[in-house]
Symmetry: D2
């Protein structure tokens, strides 16, 4: 077993992402998580656009966010993405969004749980190749096969 | 020939639509236009969700907006939608967004030009029934068939 | 102690809220939660636009969503909002988003935890009047003052 | 007089920007224009975040878009931004959005007209330094001062 891979995606705050509180509206972090997730997958041979064309969709079933400090227009940010757990149907990503400043100030932590589905959004197992690659990124060696009831 | 139908759709400004200028970000007006357009169509027997399922898509090809006054969180607004022109493939909608106050203050005027397409987004004629209904809403009686070059 | 008030806010899915999966993108539920929360507050004498002008902001510090079934363009939905807990600085709202169909199909459950802040987003106690009103909506009678360590 | 500077900002389509038509929703182009504009300004010493803090706001008063071809999830795009005209209060930016493929396929052309305002969104002249810099980027040498009535 090795350590989980941390993928870093850098972007800047866009003006339309702010709200009248003068900071980034909290809904945008979900889209930044998605950006981090799709960039991480692409960097490791799992192009989500291709996966969808092949009929393998990943639907978000659970999301959590904890906001620690606000992001502002003008900020450069980095999304740190890791794969925390891979099951037969579902995969859990975890995220930390940081400001690109000297201290890498933490802005938000969160997770998304995704389920493999077909085009009709019915749950289906993750394709073996996807599962194997994600498991490697999670830093876990899938040694013994899980029992059928898992 | 009769007057064009004006359809009124009322909604309120949502917090996430504001930006750090303290007013609604200009990109949201395009979504309000779309809201006005789909509500108008639905109210007149042209349910866009059904049209799409039947393979008739309307793709936006041209948009214009002129902002006159800002909308703010807390404002009630009304989108006034009219159909300005119906061609064989394309239809032009026009919009006025007003604040619901004593003066019905004008906030924005705009238009969208839409083209009928198939599921692959290739241009195709508007279905005859759609075209007839839209032409009636535009207040124009399509008396003599247009010449072939139209 | 009485039951918590459930506030119902009805709206329809807007086209731009969909994504290429053919369903509403999960980030929009956060905005629907916000819509339900601000409409509930307004209906009970807590106009958030006025609160902000008075210097009392509510910043989102924690969000959770569990998606049960997808919403689609053409769906009417209802956001059921309740206040679950009121502390000195923070208030927790809970939400259920349902489709307006015969079965009131559950689409998503979630919560947001908000903290009172000043204009500089520094935490501050909720104003007494706000806290009292929210506590009543939560169905809890704040009888004995909480101990200082709370 | 020299040629107008073309600023290129590259980004990729984000999943949440798509809609159920399977392409990028047209409202996102307005946000891409804004991205191109703020990146161009920043690259040439006009940091909009700083300008706002100094009390110089740029409010969008007119927008136009012509969609030529759809953008899709997975596409890399480039926003080409130019300053077309600088007046005393207003500045006009023009944009072309292209896919990053061999042909640099044109997806959309558009413009935004912005007006200088104070924090209360009242029109005010662009600061001299801003106007001079923008005029240089537009490739126009402001030779003779404009008459007072201009």
């Amino acid at each position: 077993m090795s350590a989980a891979i941390v993928h870093r995606t850098r972007t800047s705050v866009r003006y339309h992402e702010t709200d009248q509180m003068g900071v980034v509206h909290h809904s945008n972090y979900i889209c930044w998580f998605e950006l981090g997730r799709t960039e991480m997958m692409k960097a490791h041979g799992l192009d989500y656009a291709e996966l969808e064309r092949a009929g393998c969709l990943l639907a978000v079933v659970d999301v959590g966010l904890r906001h620690v400090a606000p992001a502002r227009f003008g900020d450069e940010i980095v999304v740190e993405t890791t794969i925390a757990e891979v099951e037969r149907v579902r995969v859990r990503f975890e995220y930390a969004v940081r400001r690109v400043d000297g201290a890498a100030t933490l802005l938000c932590r969160g997770h998304t749980l995704l389920a493999g589905t077909d085009r009709q959004l019915r749950p289906r197992r993750l394709p073996e190749a996807v599962r194997t690659r994600m498991t490697a990124l999670a830093g876990v060696t899938p040694a013994t096969p899980a029992p059928p009831s898992a």
